[in-house]
């Protein structure tokens, strides 16, 4: 067995406070991963977070963190527009990287990250690991087995509404360092519901159906201003986008990433329609379908995202009660990959493909011209 993975956390914002540190400071993971450093440009916030969670080192610059020799790997929890730069610094310093979604905002950036990791023998795990979820693996298996006949089309999508301004408790109860500013969700690069919420739907869709081939989209901005704690935030990114995808075998798919509008109450879930039936979230022709671990979810409604994550392999014991356990699972995928060489379906190649879809969709909306998706990824066998 390899040694404990020493982890650095880039960004001390909402996700780090709500999920990453609460999960990784539980007793049960001390033998496999330990958080050694946290980094945030808001020094008071980083120090406060380090004190609360017992993290020994604090940095305000990513370059200092990755060159300090304190970490074997980092998890990138900075604003999406900074993921690529921060990940590249870590890889160049010889560190393995877990990216929270999305890994980058362009395919070119993703190529650099993948090539850098490959050249140095480093591992990347890129969230969200929708392909790990037994719910979606079973969905894929049902479709492949013909449970809904021949697949014709699918629809999915997620809206972020006003979640980041008014629903995330870590932002609304500011501690040291002041309120955690959500403005970047509404700015380029990396803002907008596609890179944020719709990324879950796209990872889910491609985990079930594989790669998309072509894309077109219409996109616009409907809310020019947003409010955060009495302050006005100007929006310079599209917040209302619908994407149309050509998938394999004549199937079409549509993805809503809009300021309002939830396709299904189950977060990020999809409807799949075939010649003989439909899968709607976790229902096959109106009846719940079984999947490994389903018994762990039955005391909660299917839209309870956290309850649905109890079925993930590392989400046991206390982790079932800490928010965003899917993020913890993805980090543990990296930890196992480093320690044991365990392969994971949560790949940088799939993340790049989703980024390709989003980037190409925006290009299609801007130019009016349908775009070819040039990236592919390998979808591992289902193996439930």
């Amino acid at each position: 067995m390899s040694d404990v993975v020493r982890l650095g956390v880039v960004g001390a914002g909402a996700l780090t406070q709500r999920a990453i540190l609460p999960h990784l400071t539980q007793e049960d993971v001390h033998d496999s991963v330990q958080v050694r450093a946290v980094c945030d440009p808001v020094a008071e916030r980083a120090e406060d977070v380090a004190r609360r969670f017992g993290v020994p080192r604090v940095f305000s610059r990513v370059g200092d963190l990755v060159s300090a020799g304190e970490a074997d790997a980092v998890t990138i929890a900075s604003p999406i527009g900074l993921h690529s730069e921060h990940g590249r610094l870590a890889l160049e310093a010889g560190l393995h990287v877990h990216f929270n979604k999305t890994m980058s905002t362009t395919v070119d950036e993703a190529d650099v990250l993948i090539d850098t990791a490959a050249a140095r023998g480093l591992k990347i795990v890129a969230s969200p690991g929708e392909g790990l979820r037994p719910q979606l693996r079973r969905t894929r298996q049902l479709i492949e087995q013909g449970a809904i006949g021949k697949l014709s089309w699918a629809v999915c999508g997620v809206a972020f509404g006003r979640y980041h301004e008014s629903e995330e408790p870590e932002r609304l109860q500011p501690r040291a360092g002041g309120p955690i500013d959500p403005s970047w969700y509404f700015r380029r690069p990396g803002g907008g519901p596609m890179y944020d919420m719709a990324a879950y739907a796209l990872h889910g869709l491609t985990s079930v159906l594989g790669a998309a081939r072509r894309v077109t989209a219409l996109s616009g901005k409907v809310l020019p201003l947003r409010q955060f704690m009495g302050r006005t935030v100007s929006v310079d990114v599209d917040d209302n986008t619908i994407v149309l995808l050509e998938m394999a075998d004549d199937a079409l798919a549509v993805v809503h990433g809009t300021a309002a509008g939830t396709i299904l109450e189950d977060f990020g879930a999809a409807c799949y329609f075939g010649t003989e039936g439909e899968i709607r979230g976790l229902l096959l022709n109106g009846e719940p379908f079984d999947f490994p671990g389903r018994e762990l979810t039955l005391d909660a409604p299917t839209w309870d995202w956290e309850a649905q994550m109890r079925v993930l392999p590392h989400v046991v014991g206390p982790h079932r009660h800490i928010p965003e356990s899917h993020v913890f699972e993805d980090i543990m995928q990296l930890v196992d990959a480093i320690r044991y060489g365990t392969p994971t379906p949560v790949t940088a190649q799939q993340a790049r493909h989703v980024i390709d879809i989003i980037e190409s969709a925006y290009r299609a909306a801007e130019t009016g011209v349908r775009q070819e998706i040039r990236t592919v990824f390998h979808l591992p066998a289902v193996g439930l």
Partner: protein, 385 residues
């Protein structure tokens, strides 16, 4: 022109599947404003049989006798779609009012000729689908204008066409699978009429399509046992930008456009959820496009509430409401709500969608549709009262 003061005298032209499923069984419900005086079919046998069943004295093969009869005020054109334009034009030229099944004509340009012919002769031309007077659409429109949803940012709709062979279909299905038709023309018109009617006209379309089968064997009706080639894409997905201009009354603050996805196919089962959903900042409204018995579904977060809507037909589309509308307009001299402009606009959208899918680019819908916008607004005003 109308001679009888009380009831419009109708000639039914076309006695195929839609006539026997959606119109004739409900004709008694409009007996206060209309009576069927003649039944015509492509061959005479089915017309004769239907006439006998309905207790109608006259039947004929072909549409000529209906168009030329002095005691016919209006033609109810329920023929196969490829005959629509010819029958519509002949009827208008013979001085008959017309209710036409959709589409009015194969192209927007042809439909405009019909509209102008009717206007020139002072005749009333009503085109299906009369979806904006279906009770659930009237109720949906009331929710939209109440402001309960807040600004509507996005929408999605599904047009259910059914997977062939259509079990129980009593006519030859092959016309629906020819190059110039397919699910876009047959069922895509329902969400397009609804979205344009509720949100304003379609300004831009981008689309993709595919063909999921080459042929199928017919299992019912007169063409049973034959193999129908599928010459048209049977799987369509459109994204629309809909909306009014800033100065107009609009569902969106400041004239911003709503984007909507529309699916129309002959290759998937019916969705279990609502066929149409409007996504507003404060809530979501779901409703069915065809089934008048389906309740409205409203959500302002997790969970849905259902709102029942009063309806006359037990279930399915209540197309007879459009025929009633024609009769009432002719008898009273009232301007029809379901005039041809929305139908022409939808034909323009279909043409834009085909061009988009073929050429791989987004296509603007002609600004001439601004007229349709105005007409749609009128429909909305009056349908909501």
């Amino acid at each position: 022109m109308t001679t009888g003061p009380h009831r419009l005298r109708l000639a039914v032209v076309g006695v195929g599947d839609v006539a026997q499923r959606d119109y004739l069984p409900h004709a008694h419900r409009i007996a206060d404003v209309a009576e069927i005086v003649m039944v015509c079919g492509r061959g005479g046998d089915r017309a004769k049989e239907v006439a006998g069943r309905l207790g109608v004295a006259r039947w004929a093969a072909g549409y000529r006798q209906a168009v030329e009869a002095d005691d016919v005020d209006a033609v109810l054109n329920l023929t196969s779609f490829e005959a629509h334009a010819e029958v519509n034009l002949a009827a208008l030229r013979a001085g008959k009012h017309v209710y036409s099944e959709k589409p009015l004509a194969p192209s927007a340009a042809d439909a405009i000729v019909l509209r102008d012919e009717a206007a020139h002769r002072g005749l009333t031309l009503v085109c299906a689908p009369s979806i904006m007077v279906f009770p659930q659409l009237v109720a949906a429109r009331e929710v939209v204008t109440s402001g309960w949803l807040g600004p509507i940012y996005a929408a999605r709709a599904v047009a259910f066409g059914g997977v062939p062979p259509w079990a129980g279909y009593i006519s030859d299905p092959s016309p629906y699978f020819r190059q110039e038709t397919g699910p876009l023309v047959d069922v895509g018109v329902y969400p397009l009429h609804a979205l344009a009617g509720l949100l304003g006209p379609v300004r831009k379309v981008t689309a993709m399509s595919s063909r999921t089968r080459d042929r199928f064997a017919v299992t019912d009706g007169p063409a049973r046992g034959t193999m129908v080639p599928v010459e048209v894409d049977d799987n369509w997905q459109l994204i629309l930008e809909c909306g009014t201009d800033a100065e107009s009354q609009t569902a969106i603050e400041g004239g911003t456009r709503t984007i909507a996805s529309v699916q129309a196919n002959f290759c998937a089962v019916a969705p279990a959820g609502p066929e149409c959903e409007l996504f507003g900042e404060h809530g979501t409204l779901g409703f069915d496009l065809l089934n008048v018995a389906a309740p409205l579904r409203l959500s302002a977060g997790h969970g849905w509430t259902e709102q029942q809507v009063a309806h006359e037909r037990d279930s399915g589309p209540d197309h007879i409401l459009g025929v009633r509308h024609l009769a009432e307009c002719v008898l009273s001299g009232m301007q029809p709500l379901l005039d041809p402009d929305p139908a022409i606009h939808v034909l323009e959208v279909l043409e834009a969608a085909r061009a988009s899918a073929r050429e791989g680019r987004a296509v603007e819908v002609p600004t001439r549709s601004g007229q349709a916008l105005h007409q749609n607004a009128t429909v909305r005003e009056m349908a909501g009262e």
